[in-house]
Amino acid sequence: MNEILFSNQVIIYLLSEATLFFLLFIAFIISVKILIKWDFNSFSPTQFKLEKQAYLVSTITLFVFLIKFILLIYFVFTVDSISVLVPGAMCGAGVITANEYGTVLLGLKFLLLALLIFWFYLQFYDTHTKEHLYFKHKSWVFLAIFVFVVLELFLDFQYFLNIDTHQPVSCCSALFGQLEGANPLPFGLNIPLLLTLFYLLYILVILTLNLNYKVVYIVSNLLFLYIAYYAVVYFFGTYIYQLPTHKCPFCMLQPDYFYIGYFVWGFLFIGTFIGIGDVLSSLVIGIPNLKYQKITSYFLSLFVLLCTSYVAVYWLKNGVLL
Protein backbone atom coordinates (compact mmCIF):
# COMPACT_ATOMS: atom_id res chain seq x y z
CA MET A 1 0.00 0.00 0.00
CA ASN A 2 1.20 3.48 -0.84
CA GLU A 3 2.90 5.11 2.20
CA ILE A 4 1.39 8.42 1.23
CA LEU A 5 -2.02 7.13 2.33
CA PHE A 6 -0.71 6.68 5.87
CA SER A 7 0.12 10.35 6.19
CA ASN A 8 -2.25 12.08 8.65
CA GLN A 9 -2.80 15.05 6.40
CA VAL A 10 -3.74 12.86 3.45
CA ILE A 11 -6.14 10.78 5.55
CA ILE A 12 -7.85 13.89 6.92
CA TYR A 13 -8.00 15.47 3.49
CA LEU A 14 -9.43 12.44 1.69
CA LEU A 15 -11.95 11.67 4.44
CA SER A 16 -13.11 15.28 4.44
CA GLU A 17 -13.47 15.34 0.65
CA ALA A 18 -15.43 12.08 0.74
CA THR A 19 -17.75 13.36 3.47
CA LEU A 20 -18.40 16.61 1.65
CA PHE A 21 -19.03 14.67 -1.54
CA PHE A 22 -21.61 12.52 0.24
CA LEU A 23 -23.43 15.63 1.49
CA LEU A 24 -23.31 17.21 -1.94
CA PHE A 25 -24.62 14.03 -3.49
CA ILE A 26 -27.70 14.23 -1.28
CA ALA A 27 -28.13 17.88 -2.26
CA PHE A 28 -27.70 16.91 -5.93
CA ILE A 29 -30.45 14.27 -5.83
CA ILE A 30 -32.85 16.67 -4.14
CA SER A 31 -31.90 19.53 -6.51
CA VAL A 32 -32.71 17.48 -9.60
CA LYS A 33 -36.13 16.63 -8.14
CA ILE A 34 -36.76 20.26 -7.25
CA LEU A 35 -35.72 21.61 -10.64
CA ILE A 36 -38.10 19.28 -12.42
CA LYS A 37 -41.19 20.26 -10.39
CA TRP A 38 -40.40 23.80 -9.19
CA ASP A 39 -43.17 26.36 -9.64
CA PHE A 40 -42.87 29.20 -7.17
CA ASN A 41 -46.30 30.64 -8.04
CA SER A 42 -48.01 27.46 -6.89
CA PHE A 43 -49.41 27.08 -3.34
CA SER A 44 -49.77 23.31 -3.55
CA PRO A 45 -48.43 20.86 -0.93
CA THR A 46 -45.79 19.70 -3.46
CA GLN A 47 -44.46 23.22 -3.91
CA PHE A 48 -44.33 23.87 -0.15
CA LYS A 49 -42.45 20.59 0.26
CA LEU A 50 -40.05 21.60 -2.52
CA GLU A 51 -39.44 24.99 -0.89
CA LYS A 52 -38.54 23.29 2.39
CA GLN A 53 -36.20 20.94 0.52
CA ALA A 54 -34.72 23.88 -1.40
CA TYR A 55 -33.87 25.50 1.92
CA LEU A 56 -32.22 22.25 3.03
CA VAL A 57 -30.24 22.03 -0.21
CA SER A 58 -29.10 25.66 0.10
CA THR A 59 -27.98 25.05 3.68
CA ILE A 60 -26.06 21.90 2.79
CA THR A 61 -24.50 23.52 -0.27
CA LEU A 62 -23.51 26.67 1.61
CA PHE A 63 -21.88 24.62 4.37
CA VAL A 64 -20.06 22.30 1.95
CA PHE A 65 -18.82 25.13 -0.22
CA LEU A 66 -17.49 27.07 2.75
CA ILE A 67 -15.60 23.99 3.92
CA LYS A 68 -14.31 23.46 0.37
CA PHE A 69 -12.52 26.83 0.55
CA ILE A 70 -10.74 25.68 3.66
CA LEU A 71 -10.02 22.30 2.09
CA LEU A 72 -8.35 23.94 -0.90
CA ILE A 73 -5.88 25.61 1.44
CA TYR A 74 -5.52 22.31 3.31
CA PHE A 75 -4.83 20.48 0.03
CA VAL A 76 -1.96 22.84 -0.71
CA PHE A 77 -0.71 22.40 2.85
CA THR A 78 -0.98 18.60 2.53
CA VAL A 79 0.90 18.50 -0.76
CA ASP A 80 3.61 20.65 0.78
CA SER A 81 3.88 18.53 3.93
CA ILE A 82 4.19 15.19 2.10
CA SER A 83 7.14 16.53 0.11
CA VAL A 84 9.37 14.91 2.76
CA LEU A 85 8.04 11.52 1.72
CA VAL A 86 8.65 11.94 -1.98
CA PRO A 87 12.31 11.66 -3.09
CA GLY A 88 13.59 14.69 -4.93
CA ALA A 89 10.75 16.96 -3.86
CA MET A 90 11.81 19.97 -1.82
CA CYS A 91 8.33 21.47 -1.78
CA GLY A 92 4.85 21.03 -3.21
CA ALA A 93 6.10 21.72 -6.73
CA GLY A 94 7.74 18.31 -6.97
CA VAL A 95 4.83 16.52 -5.30
CA ILE A 96 2.24 18.10 -7.61
CA THR A 97 4.15 16.88 -10.64
CA ALA A 98 4.71 13.41 -9.15
CA ASN A 99 2.09 12.02 -11.52
CA GLU A 100 -0.11 13.19 -14.37
CA TYR A 101 -3.08 13.92 -12.06
CA GLY A 102 -1.52 16.57 -9.82
CA THR A 103 -1.46 19.62 -12.07
CA VAL A 104 -4.90 18.83 -13.52
CA LEU A 105 -6.28 18.44 -9.99
CA LEU A 106 -4.80 21.74 -8.85
CA GLY A 107 -6.20 23.52 -11.91
CA LEU A 108 -9.61 21.94 -11.32
CA LYS A 109 -9.61 23.12 -7.71
CA PHE A 110 -9.04 26.70 -8.80
CA LEU A 111 -11.79 26.42 -11.39
CA LEU A 112 -14.08 25.08 -8.65
CA LEU A 113 -13.10 27.99 -6.41
CA ALA A 114 -14.21 30.41 -9.12
CA LEU A 115 -17.51 28.54 -9.63
CA LEU A 116 -18.17 28.38 -5.88
CA ILE A 117 -17.74 32.15 -5.55
CA PHE A 118 -20.12 32.62 -8.50
CA TRP A 119 -22.63 30.32 -6.78
CA PHE A 120 -22.35 32.37 -3.57
CA TYR A 121 -23.28 35.49 -5.50
CA LEU A 122 -26.30 33.79 -7.05
CA GLN A 123 -27.35 32.45 -3.62
CA PHE A 124 -27.13 35.96 -2.18
CA TYR A 125 -29.19 37.52 -4.96
CA ASP A 126 -31.71 34.66 -4.88
CA THR A 127 -32.41 34.96 -1.14
CA HIS A 128 -32.73 38.73 -1.51
CA THR A 129 -35.68 38.54 -3.90
CA LYS A 130 -39.22 37.81 -2.75
CA GLU A 131 -39.96 35.29 -5.49
CA HIS A 132 -36.59 33.41 -5.50
CA LEU A 133 -36.00 34.86 -8.97
CA TYR A 134 -32.59 33.26 -9.43
CA PHE A 135 -33.37 29.86 -7.99
CA LYS A 136 -33.11 28.07 -11.32
CA HIS A 137 -29.86 29.88 -12.28
CA LYS A 138 -28.39 28.91 -8.93
CA SER A 139 -29.53 25.31 -9.24
CA TRP A 140 -28.07 24.87 -12.71
CA VAL A 141 -24.75 26.31 -11.57
CA PHE A 142 -24.86 23.90 -8.62
CA LEU A 143 -25.43 20.94 -10.94
CA ALA A 144 -22.45 22.02 -13.05
CA ILE A 145 -20.35 22.37 -9.90
CA PHE A 146 -21.39 18.87 -8.82
CA VAL A 147 -20.06 17.38 -12.07
CA PHE A 148 -16.71 19.02 -11.38
CA VAL A 149 -16.80 17.85 -7.77
CA VAL A 150 -17.25 14.25 -8.94
CA LEU A 151 -14.23 14.68 -11.21
CA GLU A 152 -12.33 16.32 -8.37
CA LEU A 153 -12.98 13.41 -5.99
CA PHE A 154 -11.87 10.92 -8.63
CA LEU A 155 -8.70 12.90 -9.26
CA ASP A 156 -8.05 13.33 -5.52
CA PHE A 157 -7.92 9.58 -4.97
CA GLN A 158 -6.10 8.87 -8.22
CA TYR A 159 -3.51 11.49 -7.39
CA PHE A 160 -2.70 10.34 -3.87
CA LEU A 161 -2.90 6.65 -4.77
CA ASN A 162 -0.42 7.10 -7.62
CA ILE A 163 2.32 9.05 -5.89
CA ASP A 164 5.29 6.71 -6.11
CA THR A 165 7.61 7.19 -3.16
CA HIS A 166 10.35 5.20 -4.93
CA GLN A 167 10.37 7.32 -8.05
CA PRO A 168 12.27 10.61 -7.69
CA VAL A 169 10.51 13.72 -8.83
CA SER A 170 11.89 16.98 -10.13
CA CYS A 171 12.45 19.73 -7.66
CA CYS A 172 11.37 23.28 -8.37
CA SER A 173 14.70 24.29 -9.89
CA ALA A 174 14.23 21.66 -12.58
CA LEU A 175 10.58 22.55 -13.09
CA PHE A 176 10.81 26.31 -13.05
CA GLY A 177 14.44 26.73 -14.00
CA GLN A 178 15.06 27.87 -17.53
CA LEU A 179 16.23 25.85 -20.48
CA GLU A 180 19.62 27.09 -21.52
CA GLY A 181 18.93 30.22 -23.56
CA ALA A 182 15.19 29.84 -23.19
CA ASN A 183 12.76 32.46 -21.94
CA PRO A 184 9.97 31.00 -19.80
CA LEU A 185 8.00 34.25 -19.74
CA PRO A 186 4.94 34.61 -21.98
CA PHE A 187 4.78 36.88 -25.04
CA GLY A 188 8.58 36.92 -25.12
CA LEU A 189 8.65 39.37 -22.20
CA ASN A 190 11.77 40.16 -20.25
CA ILE A 191 11.66 41.07 -16.56
CA PRO A 192 11.36 44.88 -16.94
CA LEU A 193 8.55 44.49 -19.49
CA LEU A 194 6.89 41.83 -17.33
CA LEU A 195 6.81 44.24 -14.40
CA THR A 196 5.56 47.09 -16.59
CA LEU A 197 2.74 44.85 -17.79
CA PHE A 198 2.05 43.71 -14.23
CA TYR A 199 1.57 47.21 -12.85
CA LEU A 200 -0.27 48.50 -15.93
CA LEU A 201 -2.72 45.61 -15.71
CA TYR A 202 -3.22 46.24 -12.01
CA ILE A 203 -4.09 49.89 -12.71
CA LEU A 204 -6.43 48.82 -15.52
CA VAL A 205 -8.17 46.27 -13.26
CA ILE A 206 -8.76 48.83 -10.51
CA LEU A 207 -10.00 51.48 -12.93
CA THR A 208 -12.34 49.24 -14.91
CA LEU A 209 -13.72 47.65 -11.75
CA ASN A 210 -14.54 50.94 -10.10
CA LEU A 211 -15.87 52.56 -13.25
CA ASN A 212 -18.11 49.57 -14.01
CA TYR A 213 -16.56 48.58 -17.36
CA LYS A 214 -17.55 45.00 -16.77
CA VAL A 215 -16.33 43.08 -19.81
CA VAL A 216 -13.04 44.99 -19.98
CA TYR A 217 -12.60 44.29 -16.28
CA ILE A 218 -13.05 40.52 -16.70
CA VAL A 219 -10.54 40.34 -19.55
CA SER A 220 -8.02 42.55 -17.76
CA ASN A 221 -8.33 40.68 -14.46
CA LEU A 222 -7.84 37.30 -16.13
CA LEU A 223 -4.80 38.65 -17.96
CA PHE A 224 -3.55 40.15 -14.69
CA LEU A 225 -3.90 36.74 -13.02
CA TYR A 226 -1.86 35.14 -15.81
CA ILE A 227 0.87 37.79 -15.73
CA ALA A 228 0.88 37.96 -11.93
CA TYR A 229 1.69 34.23 -11.76
CA TYR A 230 4.83 34.77 -13.83
CA ALA A 231 5.71 37.97 -12.00
CA VAL A 232 5.52 36.21 -8.63
CA VAL A 233 7.42 33.07 -9.74
CA TYR A 234 10.12 34.75 -11.82
CA PHE A 235 10.59 38.06 -10.04
CA PHE A 236 8.89 38.75 -6.72
CA GLY A 237 9.48 35.18 -5.52
CA THR A 238 13.23 35.65 -5.85
CA TYR A 239 12.98 38.50 -3.35
CA ILE A 240 10.97 36.38 -0.97
CA TYR A 241 13.67 33.70 -1.15
CA GLN A 242 16.40 36.35 -1.49
CA LEU A 243 18.00 34.18 -4.15
CA PRO A 244 17.92 35.14 -7.84
CA THR A 245 17.91 31.53 -9.02
CA HIS A 246 15.17 30.27 -6.73
CA LYS A 247 12.00 30.35 -8.77
CA CYS A 248 9.12 28.44 -7.29
CA PRO A 249 5.48 29.17 -6.51
CA PHE A 250 5.34 26.56 -3.75
CA CYS A 251 8.40 27.10 -1.55
CA MET A 252 6.97 30.36 -0.24
CA LEU A 253 4.18 28.35 1.41
CA GLN A 254 6.66 26.82 3.81
CA PRO A 255 7.38 27.94 7.40
CA ASP A 256 10.90 29.02 6.35
CA TYR A 257 9.27 31.96 4.61
CA PHE A 258 6.62 32.50 7.30
CA TYR A 259 3.88 30.94 5.10
CA ILE A 260 3.79 34.18 3.10
CA GLY A 261 2.80 32.21 0.02
CA TYR A 262 -0.68 31.63 1.42
CA PHE A 263 -1.16 35.41 1.65
CA VAL A 264 0.37 36.15 -1.73
CA TRP A 265 -1.63 33.57 -3.65
CA GLY A 266 -4.66 33.99 -1.37
CA PHE A 267 -4.96 37.73 -1.96
CA LEU A 268 -4.51 37.27 -5.70
CA PHE A 269 -7.00 34.44 -6.19
CA ILE A 270 -9.63 35.69 -3.76
CA GLY A 271 -9.49 39.21 -5.17
CA THR A 272 -9.71 37.93 -8.73
CA PHE A 273 -12.55 35.49 -8.16
CA ILE A 274 -14.62 37.83 -5.98
CA GLY A 275 -14.36 40.52 -8.64
CA ILE A 276 -15.06 38.25 -11.60
CA GLY A 277 -17.91 36.53 -9.73
CA ASP A 278 -19.44 39.90 -8.91
CA VAL A 279 -19.28 41.07 -12.54
CA LEU A 280 -20.44 37.74 -14.00
CA SER A 281 -23.42 37.53 -11.68
CA SER A 282 -24.36 41.13 -12.42
CA LEU A 283 -24.17 40.37 -16.16
CA VAL A 284 -26.16 37.12 -15.83
CA ILE A 285 -28.79 38.56 -13.53
CA GLY A 286 -28.85 42.02 -15.05
CA ILE A 287 -27.94 44.04 -12.00
CA PRO A 288 -26.37 47.36 -12.97
CA ASN A 289 -24.22 47.98 -9.91
CA LEU A 290 -21.44 45.86 -8.54
CA LYS A 291 -21.45 44.97 -4.86
CA TYR A 292 -17.93 44.10 -3.93
CA GLN A 293 -15.73 46.50 -5.84
CA LYS A 294 -14.07 47.71 -2.66
CA ILE A 295 -13.26 44.22 -1.34
CA THR A 296 -11.86 43.16 -4.71
CA SER A 297 -9.78 46.33 -4.94
CA TYR A 298 -8.46 45.81 -1.40
CA PHE A 299 -7.44 42.21 -1.98
CA LEU A 300 -5.69 42.92 -5.27
CA SER A 301 -4.02 46.02 -3.84
CA LEU A 302 -2.82 44.02 -0.84
CA PHE A 303 -1.39 41.46 -3.22
CA VAL A 304 0.50 44.07 -5.24
CA LEU A 305 1.63 45.87 -2.10
CA LEU A 306 2.88 42.65 -0.50
CA CYS A 307 4.87 41.67 -3.59
CA THR A 308 6.29 45.15 -4.08
CA SER A 309 7.21 45.48 -0.42
CA TYR A 310 9.58 42.52 -0.60
CA VAL A 311 11.50 44.22 -3.40
CA ALA A 312 11.39 47.59 -1.66
CA VAL A 313 12.60 46.19 1.66
CA TYR A 314 15.43 44.31 -0.05
CA TRP A 315 16.49 47.42 -1.92
CA LEU A 316 16.31 49.60 1.20
CA LYS A 317 18.34 47.10 3.19
CA ASN A 318 20.97 46.33 0.57
CA GLY A 319 20.96 49.31 -1.75
CA VAL A 320 20.87 47.01 -4.78
CA LEU A 321 18.43 44.69 -6.47
CA LEU A 322 19.01 40.97 -7.05
Binding site: G181, A182, N183, G188, L211, V216
Partner: protein, 183 residues
Amino acid sequence: MHLLCGCLLAKKWSIIVKKLLPLLIIFVILGISAVIFISMAKNDQPMTIAKGNKEMKVLDFKLNFTNDSHCKMLIHEKRNALEVATPSGKTWFFDDPACMVEWIQDKSFKDSSKIWVYTLDTKRWIDAKKAWYGVTNKTAMHSGFGAREHKIEKSIDFNEMSLRVLRGETLDNPKIRKKLLGD
Protein backbone atom coordinates in the same frame (compact mmCIF):
# COMPACT_ATOMS: atom_id res chain seq x y z
CA MET B 1 -16.23 81.25 2.75
CA HIS B 2 -12.91 79.38 2.38
CA LEU B 3 -14.71 76.14 3.20
CA LEU B 4 -17.31 76.82 0.53
CA CYS B 5 -14.63 77.58 -2.07
CA GLY B 6 -12.77 74.44 -1.04
CA CYS B 7 -15.91 72.33 -1.44
CA LEU B 8 -16.68 73.80 -4.85
CA LEU B 9 -13.10 73.23 -6.01
CA ALA B 10 -13.16 69.63 -4.81
CA LYS B 11 -16.46 69.05 -6.63
CA LYS B 12 -15.07 70.58 -9.85
CA TRP B 13 -11.92 68.51 -9.54
CA SER B 14 -13.85 65.28 -9.06
CA ILE B 15 -15.96 66.04 -12.17
CA ILE B 16 -12.74 66.61 -14.19
CA VAL B 17 -11.21 63.41 -12.82
CA LYS B 18 -14.37 61.43 -13.63
CA LYS B 19 -14.25 62.67 -17.23
CA LEU B 20 -10.53 61.93 -17.52
CA LEU B 21 -10.66 58.42 -16.11
CA PRO B 22 -12.10 56.74 -19.23
CA LEU B 23 -9.33 58.41 -21.20
CA LEU B 24 -6.80 57.05 -18.73
CA ILE B 25 -8.21 53.54 -19.22
CA ILE B 26 -7.71 53.87 -22.97
CA PHE B 27 -4.09 54.97 -22.47
CA VAL B 28 -3.42 52.08 -20.11
CA ILE B 29 -4.91 49.60 -22.60
CA LEU B 30 -2.77 51.09 -25.35
CA GLY B 31 0.29 50.82 -23.12
CA ILE B 32 -0.44 47.17 -22.35
CA SER B 33 -0.99 46.36 -26.01
CA ALA B 34 2.28 48.10 -26.92
CA VAL B 35 4.24 46.11 -24.33
CA ILE B 36 2.80 42.80 -25.51
CA PHE B 37 3.28 43.47 -29.22
CA ILE B 38 6.83 44.75 -28.80
CA SER B 39 7.77 41.69 -26.75
CA MET B 40 6.18 39.28 -29.17
CA ALA B 41 7.86 40.95 -32.12
CA LYS B 42 11.33 40.41 -30.74
CA ASN B 43 10.56 37.05 -29.21
CA ASP B 44 13.45 34.70 -29.86
CA GLN B 45 12.64 31.45 -28.18
CA PRO B 46 14.89 28.44 -28.47
CA MET B 47 13.20 25.46 -30.05
CA THR B 48 12.77 22.20 -28.23
CA ILE B 49 10.15 20.34 -30.22
CA ALA B 50 9.23 20.82 -33.85
CA LYS B 51 5.74 19.93 -35.05
CA GLY B 52 4.21 19.00 -38.34
CA ASN B 53 6.92 16.62 -39.56
CA LYS B 54 4.61 13.74 -40.49
CA GLU B 55 7.01 12.56 -43.20
CA MET B 56 9.58 11.99 -40.44
CA LYS B 57 12.35 13.59 -42.43
CA VAL B 58 15.37 15.52 -41.23
CA LEU B 59 14.59 19.06 -40.19
CA ASP B 60 16.88 22.02 -40.32
CA PHE B 61 17.49 23.59 -36.98
CA LYS B 62 19.35 26.62 -35.73
CA LEU B 63 22.55 25.90 -33.86
CA ASN B 64 22.89 27.55 -30.41
CA PHE B 65 19.14 27.98 -30.51
CA THR B 66 17.78 24.48 -30.15
CA ASN B 67 17.63 22.54 -26.89
CA ASP B 68 18.51 18.91 -26.32
CA SER B 69 15.25 17.44 -24.96
CA HIS B 70 17.05 15.28 -22.42
CA CYS B 71 19.87 17.36 -20.94
CA LYS B 72 18.26 20.72 -21.88
CA MET B 73 21.59 22.05 -23.21
CA LEU B 74 21.74 24.08 -26.40
CA ILE B 75 23.02 22.15 -29.43
CA HIS B 76 26.22 23.90 -30.53
CA GLU B 77 27.23 21.73 -33.48
CA LYS B 78 25.74 19.27 -35.93
CA ARG B 79 28.39 16.59 -35.36
CA ASN B 80 26.78 13.65 -33.55
CA ALA B 81 23.50 15.54 -33.25
CA LEU B 82 20.38 13.42 -33.53
CA GLU B 83 16.75 13.96 -34.44
CA VAL B 84 13.90 11.70 -33.39
CA ALA B 85 10.86 12.07 -35.66
CA THR B 86 7.60 10.38 -34.68
CA PRO B 87 4.54 9.44 -36.76
CA SER B 88 2.55 12.13 -34.90
CA GLY B 89 4.65 14.80 -36.61
CA LYS B 90 6.76 15.82 -33.61
CA THR B 91 10.53 15.96 -33.81
CA TRP B 92 12.95 16.13 -30.87
CA PHE B 93 16.62 17.12 -30.99
CA PHE B 94 19.71 15.82 -29.17
CA ASP B 95 23.34 16.79 -29.01
CA ASP B 96 24.72 13.36 -28.10
CA PRO B 97 23.67 9.75 -28.88
CA ALA B 98 23.71 8.98 -25.13
CA CYS B 99 21.08 11.69 -24.46
CA MET B 100 18.82 10.27 -27.15
CA VAL B 101 19.13 6.68 -25.91
CA GLU B 102 18.35 7.63 -22.31
CA TRP B 103 15.45 9.81 -23.36
CA ILE B 104 13.76 7.39 -25.77
CA GLN B 105 13.80 4.38 -23.41
CA ASP B 106 10.36 4.95 -21.84
CA LYS B 107 8.68 6.41 -24.92
CA SER B 108 5.84 4.53 -26.55
CA PHE B 109 7.10 5.54 -30.02
CA LYS B 110 10.58 4.06 -29.39
CA ASP B 111 10.22 1.53 -32.21
CA SER B 112 7.98 3.45 -34.58
CA SER B 113 10.05 6.63 -34.70
CA LYS B 114 12.71 7.53 -37.24
CA ILE B 115 16.06 8.48 -35.72
CA TRP B 116 18.52 10.56 -37.73
CA VAL B 117 22.18 11.17 -36.85
CA TYR B 118 24.75 13.51 -38.37
CA THR B 119 27.88 11.59 -39.22
CA LEU B 120 31.46 12.53 -38.59
CA ASP B 121 32.85 10.99 -41.77
CA THR B 122 30.34 11.78 -44.52
CA LYS B 123 28.95 14.84 -42.76
CA ARG B 124 25.34 14.08 -43.58
CA TRP B 125 22.19 12.88 -41.91
CA ILE B 126 21.62 9.13 -41.98
CA ASP B 127 19.42 6.59 -40.23
CA ALA B 128 20.91 6.29 -36.75
CA LYS B 129 20.07 2.59 -36.57
CA LYS B 130 22.28 1.95 -39.58
CA ALA B 131 25.18 4.10 -38.39
CA TRP B 132 28.37 2.89 -36.73
CA TYR B 133 29.58 4.43 -33.50
CA GLY B 134 33.15 4.94 -32.43
CA VAL B 135 33.72 4.64 -28.69
CA THR B 136 36.45 7.18 -27.99
CA ASN B 137 35.22 10.27 -29.84
CA LYS B 138 34.78 13.71 -28.39
CA THR B 139 31.03 14.28 -28.05
CA ALA B 140 28.86 16.98 -26.43
CA MET B 141 27.99 14.99 -23.32
CA HIS B 142 31.27 13.00 -23.26
CA SER B 143 29.68 9.65 -24.10
CA GLY B 144 32.40 8.96 -26.67
CA PHE B 145 30.01 7.60 -29.29
CA GLY B 146 30.81 9.38 -32.53
CA ALA B 147 28.47 8.48 -35.41
CA ARG B 148 29.84 7.28 -38.77
CA GLU B 149 28.28 6.06 -41.98
CA HIS B 150 31.11 3.62 -42.68
CA LYS B 151 32.35 1.03 -40.24
CA ILE B 152 35.80 1.53 -38.77
CA GLU B 153 37.91 -0.48 -36.38
CA LYS B 154 36.42 -0.81 -32.93
CA SER B 155 33.14 0.84 -33.92
CA ILE B 156 29.88 -0.65 -32.69
CA ASP B 157 26.38 -0.73 -34.08
CA PHE B 158 23.32 1.13 -32.81
CA ASN B 159 22.03 -1.67 -30.57
CA GLU B 160 25.40 -2.20 -28.91
CA MET B 161 25.75 1.55 -28.44
CA SER B 162 22.29 1.74 -26.80
CA LEU B 163 23.14 -1.12 -24.45
CA ARG B 164 26.41 0.48 -23.41
CA VAL B 165 24.67 3.80 -22.72
CA LEU B 166 22.06 2.11 -20.57
CA ARG B 167 24.72 0.16 -18.70
CA GLY B 168 26.67 3.34 -18.09
CA GLU B 169 29.62 2.16 -20.18
CA THR B 170 30.36 5.53 -21.70
CA LEU B 171 33.50 7.61 -21.76
CA ASP B 172 31.98 9.58 -18.91
CA ASN B 173 32.57 6.56 -16.68
CA PRO B 174 36.16 6.80 -15.28
CA LYS B 175 36.68 3.01 -15.42
CA ILE B 176 35.58 2.84 -19.05
CA ARG B 177 37.74 5.86 -19.88
CA LYS B 178 40.74 4.25 -18.30
CA LYS B 179 40.06 0.99 -20.12
CA LEU B 180 39.63 2.63 -23.52
CA LEU B 181 42.07 5.51 -23.32
CA GLY B 182 44.55 4.37 -20.73
CA ASP B 183 45.74 6.84 -18.01
